[in-house]
Symmetry: C2
Subunit: 219 residues, 2 copies
């Protein structure tokens, strides 16, 4: 089992029984989503920006306009962290205190690097699109050079990380189990609705198989 | 229409056509969820922590253990922001550049205050539980004093805020509409599964009506 080294930065203080530093487990959580929350400091305040991402090995890639103040700021300061969370359930306990959620979350710390080469940028943008919708990129119109020129692609190398996972049932005070109070779990998940074709040619063409596959796997 | 005043902090720079400062619209987005992303600065790095919240007027309430390093840190420094985002759809365009998501997001800036009085703390914890599961609190075992004593309740007064909403179809380059490329929207939503009763008394009792109502409204 390969683990991220624990440091002052990534060591989980609250709920240590839910914590893991296991690289495989962290990668599995990262690969289950495509939206991350990127932290940056603006005017002394920590601001969180939701962004699309993709992961390859120990790298996370995000992108935006070359005028994106957040991306430029974190590239310069190298001060950021990335959080990903999947909500899996509401934990309804017998007491207020033991109410909780089931979830998988990851927090990543690392260093930043601007991707300069066009071929690398293109390859990464393909990964980002395909992380949102598998096998999708090759069906698209190729990027124009001017589009590539105004896109900033940032590589985040994970240096340390932690995950928290809660995936069990209700955990109440021992004496509360005798009370005539209902408790249980409400599972929560994110699902896809049936794809809606854009007007014009897409309506005539029909929905591509890879998009239908996504719907079937996520409905 | 009441609006938050635009300042350097909350003025949306990218995608201004999606931005709103309207108090009602911002409150509607806040009331549609119960999980927020709270930013704080630790060792010079911005870290984002997912937390349960509730809203009353221009106040957001979050809570945690009295030993929660993040809550203690933001109370002391007053440097934080809160982000809430709901993902509503994948926007699959004809080109990579115009891929996007439909969403409703809010970023809040404000001041912080620790709630000291037991009655106030209890009232707020009721709101937090009921924001996650409407009408739920009154079915629970009342809080013990010792539970209240080790719970930190923090009031965040919204001073300035912005929202971004994308809720339209695909927006491609004009010339791309002639291409034989499929484009469209995949709606995304968060849904509830059927409630799972905890072992013991809850199994005999049956699922309470308010939990069944939640399931029916969110399935």
């Amino acid at each position: 089992m390969k683990e991220y080294k624990k440091s002052k930065l990534n060591r989980v203080k609250r709920g240590q029984n839910r914590a893991t530093y296991d690289v495989e487990k962290i990668n599995t959580i990262l690969d289950a989503g495509f939206l991350c929350y990127v932290g940056y400091i603006y005017e002394g305040k920590p601001i969180t920006i939701p962004m699309a991402y993709t992961r390859r090995d120990n790298k996370i890639y995000i992108h935006g306009s070359t005028a994106n103040r957040m991306l430029l700021s974190i590239l310069e300061s190298e001060e950021t962290s990335i959080t990903v969370m999947h909500l899996d359930g509401l934990v309804l306990a017998r007491s207020g205190l033991h109410h909780s959620v089931n979830y998988r979350s990851v927090t990543l710390f690392g260093s930043l690097n601007k991707i300069e080469k066009d071929e690398e940028k293109t390859a990464i943008l393909k990964w980002i699109v395909n992380q949102m919708m598998p096998n999708h990129w090759d069906s698209l119109r190729p990027m124009y050079q001017k589009e590539l020129d105004r896109t900033l692609v940032v590589e985040f190398t994970i240096e340390t990380a932690s995950a928290k996972i809660r995936d069990t049932g209700v955990a109440d005070e021992p004496e509360d189990y005798a009370l005539p109070i209902w408790a249980g779990i409400v599972p929560i998940k994110q699902v896809a609705g049936y794809p809606i074709s854009d007007k014009g040619k897409p309506e005539e063409m029909g929905i591509p198989q890879h998009v239908l596959d996504y719907y079937e796997q996520n409905k």
